[in-house]
Symmetry: C2
Subunit: 736 residues, 2 copies
């Protein structure tokens, strides 16, 4: 509860105490209970249900939910009912009357299609066809001449999603009078990927450690597991990969499967399926075989048996996510086989149980370093026709690796016969860890909205992903989780918005990032527009700010080695060329940037000709991708008349200025939230500002060695020299 609310309560107490002594006692009795609940900030995420203060607004909802018929039979429906009661109880501040059978005076029904009478089923036929297995309907219907608010769905999980939607509408104080929501997720597989290790460290985790307490599982069920499932279900996430893609075979042993099954039991009532990463060499490590060749009969048999075993523990197991022949992980190429051989072997084992193989396309050759950006395309596109039906190929949003800005990955649109899963990174490996406020849906949307030109115009990446462009039966989106044991789950309170926003875009990749930011702010902080509007502007600016102060104008991979914390554009001595920042920015006296046009690596040829044409010419290539595709002289004239060096420097400065503006706005909204809420973000913004300056100073001092030019007017002079920035070391940076 925020402090202002608390003050209000005390005032009531004092006013009443003189006239209604007995009443005074009752009220104070209630006050205390609350005032001592030291809820650690942010644990509730966007699911806190404080009462709506305005009695007029509240009364509409009280009337609508006055008498609810809720037909609940399955565990998922029981979950949905519990959420409805808990949410309404909170929002409306009174006990909710829910019945298991129909009443004449019902004001609301939460009923699956099969339990509706024929008349309503016919009347809503069109809607029921639209919403499929996971969608829902929220609208008033007429029953015996009375208007009743109906939440309905074809399947149990649709009811659960509908309940969460209704609670969100009420929390945002949308009128239910003319409500007519007919929603269904546009993407089937809405997945979190946890890069969680069995020792509870999280690769690229910046919010503490892994939620999965393997030591105490399966017997001890942490309350957090349930709260995690609630949060995911509330935004439509229906799948979770529990383990790191840099995989450990041990999770496939009985001792761990028993624990995985316990988690699956917690998640199932929230419509969430469990997946695991499969280490390709598991038949050797666990089975004692001397090969993991996917065409070897013993290997095939081992996996067949292993999959059977997994399904004995977890009857609705989702399947395997596999990182193979990438950054040292074993894979089929170790035996002269292909990704197809590997994926199809596992897919064959999973197929009888309805399981999926999600095979990652994040690969780059250990031997050919001509252009890392090209390699996934080269290895996968030729196999487009060869994967089995239950194989999906998971592709990162851009061709390098989750940089602050990358053009969309050229594989999107290039494999019409293969369902491609979009892999976004929610955890901020390259975007300031959990100390920088960066609203990622803005970045996700840039990729989803990109035109592939693979089937004419309007063939956006979103249409590839949701399966609509090439009529795919299955579709998926994966988000590399930013969740850990921190009290507020994500370290930075605004990083909750990235979890939330990822889920919303997996549900509907056509939502705008502005809509998502506004929803999240209203659900999490305050429904007051005087708070929401300025803070929304912070969120919307934030992604461009981080690009500006880290890697403007198409620069990429400038971070320091290993931990990826802070700038390291000078690093050029790592064993593999494509691990070095110098490989990517390629600076010398003559200029800067990676030539990916036909005169260089010709990576642009992997895009459709319409796209390649735009990228190939520095005159048409958007400035934001300029140095991604071109190596240009320091005095190259830009469209706005300035020269390249000045533009780089001014962009770095602009990033710093934007963070300063974010701080200014945050200070102005102080009064709308609690002191704790205000202070934690303010402290983090100060770190962000310090680190934005660090990035600017270190990069400009370094590049200045090559450009041999002064900083343009308006750019602050660095307060340390380059040697200082090079000397900084962070041996215990998290997530490494």
């Amino acid at each position: 509860m925020n402090s202002k609310l608390h003050l209000a309560l005390l005032c009531i107490n004092i006013k009443l105490s003189f006239t209604h002594l007995k009443l005074f006692y009752i009220i104070t009795f209630l006050t205390i209970v609350h005032s001592n609940s030291q809820t650690p900030g942010g644990y509730e995420l966007w699911l806190g249900h404080t009462e709506i203060e305005d009695p007029t607004v509240r009364s509409e909802y009280v009337e609508t939910t006055n008498s609810i018929f809720f037909s609940n039979k399955s565990t998922i429906l029981q979950t949905a009912k519990a959420e409805l009661v808990r949410g309404l109880d909170g929002l409306l501040g009174q006990p909710i009357n829910v019945q298991n059978s129909r009443h004449l005076l019902n004001s609301m029904w939460v009923v699956k299609k099969a339990d509706l009478n024929q008349e309503l089923q016919s009347a809503l036929k069109g809607d029921f066809e639209k919403i499929g297995k996971e969608g829902f309907i929220i609208r008033p219907v007429s029953v015996d001449g009375r208007s009743i608010l109906l939440i309905s769905a074809n399947e149990d999980v649709g009811i659960l999603y509908g309940v969460f939607k209704l609670l969100q509408l009420i929390k945002m104080q949308k009128s239910l009078a003319g409500v007519n929501v007919v929603e269904t997720p546009k993407i089937k597989l809405r997945m979190l990927n946890h890069w969680d290790n069995l020792d509870r460290t999280v690769e690229r985790g910046y919010a503490g450690f892994s939620l999965w307490n393997w030591q105490k599982l399966p017997e001890y069920i942490d309350q957090r597991y349930t709260d995690y499932a609630r949060a995911n279900a509330s935004i439509g996430i229906n799948a979770t990969v529990l383990t790191n893609v840099n995989a450990n075979a041990l999770v496939l042993t009985d001792a761990y499967l028993e624990k995985v099954a316990a988690l699956a039991d917690v998640f199932r009532p929230y419509g969430i399926k469990v997946y695991l990463t499969a280490r390709f060499s598991a038949p050797m490590e666990l089975g004692g075989l001397n090969t993991a060749d996917p065409l070897d009969n013993d290997v095939i048999e081992w996996w067949n048996n292993k999959v059977k075993e997994v399904y004995k523990f977890i009857p609705d197991f989702g399947g395997f996510l596999v990182k193979a022949n990438s950054e040292g992980q074993p894979g089929p190429q170790n035996y002269g086989r292909t990704h197809v051989d590997g994926a199809n072997m596992l897919a064959t084992a999973l197929q009888p149980f309805g399981g999926l193989v999600i095979w990652r396309a994040f690969v780059y050759s250990e031997t050919d370093a001509t252009d890392r950006a090209k390699q996934a395309f080269i290895e996968f596109v030729p196999y487009d026709a060869n994967f089995l039906d239950n194989v999906l190929v998971q592709v990162k949003n851009g061709p390098i690796d989750f940089q602050p800005r990358e053009p969309f990955h050229p594989m999107f649109g290039a494999m019409p016969n293969t369902p491609l899963v979009m892999e976004f990174q929610i955890t901020q490996e390259y975007l300031g860890f959990s100390t920088h406020l960066v609203f990622l849906p803005k970045m996700y949307k840039e990729v989803l909205d990109a035109e592939t030109y693979r089937k004419g115009k309007n063939a956006t990446v979103a249409k590839v992903i949701d399966g609509s462009l090439f009529n795919k039966k299955i579709s998926g989106m994966a988000g590399v989780s930013n969740i850990g044991t921190d009290l507020n789950w994500t370290g930075h309170p605004f990083a909750q918005a990235n979890w939330y926003g990822y889920g919303r875009l997996a549900w509907d990749p056509y939502l705008s990032s502005e809509t998502i930011a506004e929803e999240w702010l209203r659900l999490t902080y305050s429904n007051n527009s005087e708070f929401v509007e300025p803070v929304k502007s912070i969120m919307i600016t934030s992604r461009e700010a981080v690009v500006n102060y880290m890697t403007p104008m198409g620069l990429h991979h400038l971070m320091d080695t290993g931990h990826h914390y802070g700038p390291g554009p000078w690093v050029g001595d790592l064993s593999r060329p494509e691990w070095n920042p110098t490989y990517y920015h390629n600076s010398d006296k003559d200029g800067i940037g990676f030539d990916r046009t036909p005169s260089g690596s010709n990576a642009t040829s992997q895009y459709a000709p319409e796209v390649a044409k735009i990228f190939n010419d520095p005159e048409t290539c958007p400035d934001k991708y300029l140095l991604w595709f071109h190596h240009l002289p320091w005095d190259y004239k830009l469209k706005n008349g300035g020269i390249l060096w000045d533009a780089i420097a001014l962009n770095y400065q602009k990033g710093v200025d934007q963070v300063e503006q974010m701080i200014g706005i945050w200070k102005q909204v102080k009064t709308y939230i609690s002191d704790d809420q205000y202070n934690e973000v303010r402290m983090l913004l100060e770190i962000q500002l310090k680190e934005a300056k660090w990035w600017r100073n270190a990069c400009l001092l370094y590049f200045q060695n090559f450009s041999e030019r002064e900083l343009p007017i308006g750019v602050e002079l660095p307060d340390e020299n380059l040697e200082y920035y090079k000397s900084l070391k962070f041996p215990y940076a998290p997530g490494n």
Copy 2:
């Protein structure tokens, strides 16, 4: 809030809604706020302040605290005032009236001695002399003919402790009518030792990871740091060592000292000083010297400068805790010097600033393995007269290493010229991690109450520790912390009682464990004796239970290697003899146990003759230490007439039975607490039972190979064979 209380509120709502419509709205308004505060269970520790329900009881406190004069000038006093307001507000359910100046109608004063008038100062002269720097007085005094409740102290921190004491009295509903508390801590240095690494792993930590988020410090101050300080201050802990005794020199660099200083700033207002572990080789690792010889001038100068630097960052820095020449840690012996040379060199550097060196006595030779139990005594006792005044030697409670039961360490009482700090382990490295309910104050008391006979009778270990036996000016107790990032801080909710109980015994080592258990239960769960009494019996039994099912009758060091999780009595192949369980139980066809009498290692000679005499004779040696001191045949006749083998087996069975009884009792108290509170402990008790059986089965099957005897009647037959238990592997057990 527990669920019954919530139900009660709803009843009030319903009853009133028919007659007082307006009232109804006000009340429901309040209800909701609470019903949605998803307080993760246990975060509040023993500091939750729910309102006292009984209006008669409450009215006494309301009257007494009706008008409070609180003279606050320092930051510590401001802390104390904030705690008083927060606590009373919660417990009494109404805003508290606190003034900065005296009023005629004051009912209570919280005032330091210096701010009292001469008359009161004289009247309380005796009390003020008793309470020293950290103590306090709580008692009614007469001012102008009116009775006023006074909290007073000589120093600020005494006021803080007095405030916490008052809140505890009120929470436990003790009448304040005749209150007369004159308390002062009996031990000066009341310290937590965190074995926290800079990567946030915690050596022997079973409650998540380190609270210290080095990445975000110094700018970001996590709310947990403050809540940690509050909890410690509330039980009188006044010192914290932030880093692992297996030390990392990096914490002594500026980059980290700045972070340490930020933590010190948070802890200072709660009367808590920060200490660090000093890696003895730091002059080489950080300073680039080629030696860390404590007699080398460059080394001495390096440490002098380093200490100056530390005090620039942290003006009230406490000092260094050092583990040297122990388990691979560097130390003075690497250069042919002694512990005295090392400790005194550091002490000389710290002395000008009032800093302390706490030098650990936990050492055992890498070359001489005759009896590890003897080695600390051999290395330290001869140097009794040689340590400087600001050196304390920290000694583990027993001569091996935090086993479920050890006799007291023979160094206690044997070094009259050196202040010895008692090192207890709160984290349950050898006692079931954070899944077993074991109330450790019962164990601590066994050691503190032990008779050393070093100055005749009644020369207990407690009197050595508190400095009273040998008139020491300084005294200390250290507890190896069980605190981590788990929502409830300690993993097992009952492990909070070990943190609490450790603090209480550091304050007063003469308290009984029963008193502590009762206090903690009343402050944490419920003041209802029908809950408190049975659960207290669980706690009091629990320590004996774990001894029985792990290491009965003086057995010790039977755990598996490395992680120390579960039984491994069969392990005998580790490189150093004294790392092997077989070295300790020493079983063969002829018998079992470690002969430490004059016919064996003669470790008993390190005790006073009176003690040695008791231990040397198996007839007088208590059964609980029998196999610690004696190697005896399997058919050895015990005092009760039974034979040794049967007694061992029956003790293992008894441990299992005791856990089953604990579960039975817990089931009976279900109705007094919330479902969540009940369930989490029930789940953990089930794990404890499973693991108690595992210990019993594994140990008895193994020892049976030597005893070649049947299990006596009453002992359950193991459900697996010995090979099964030997095959269990736990590569990711926590804390390793």
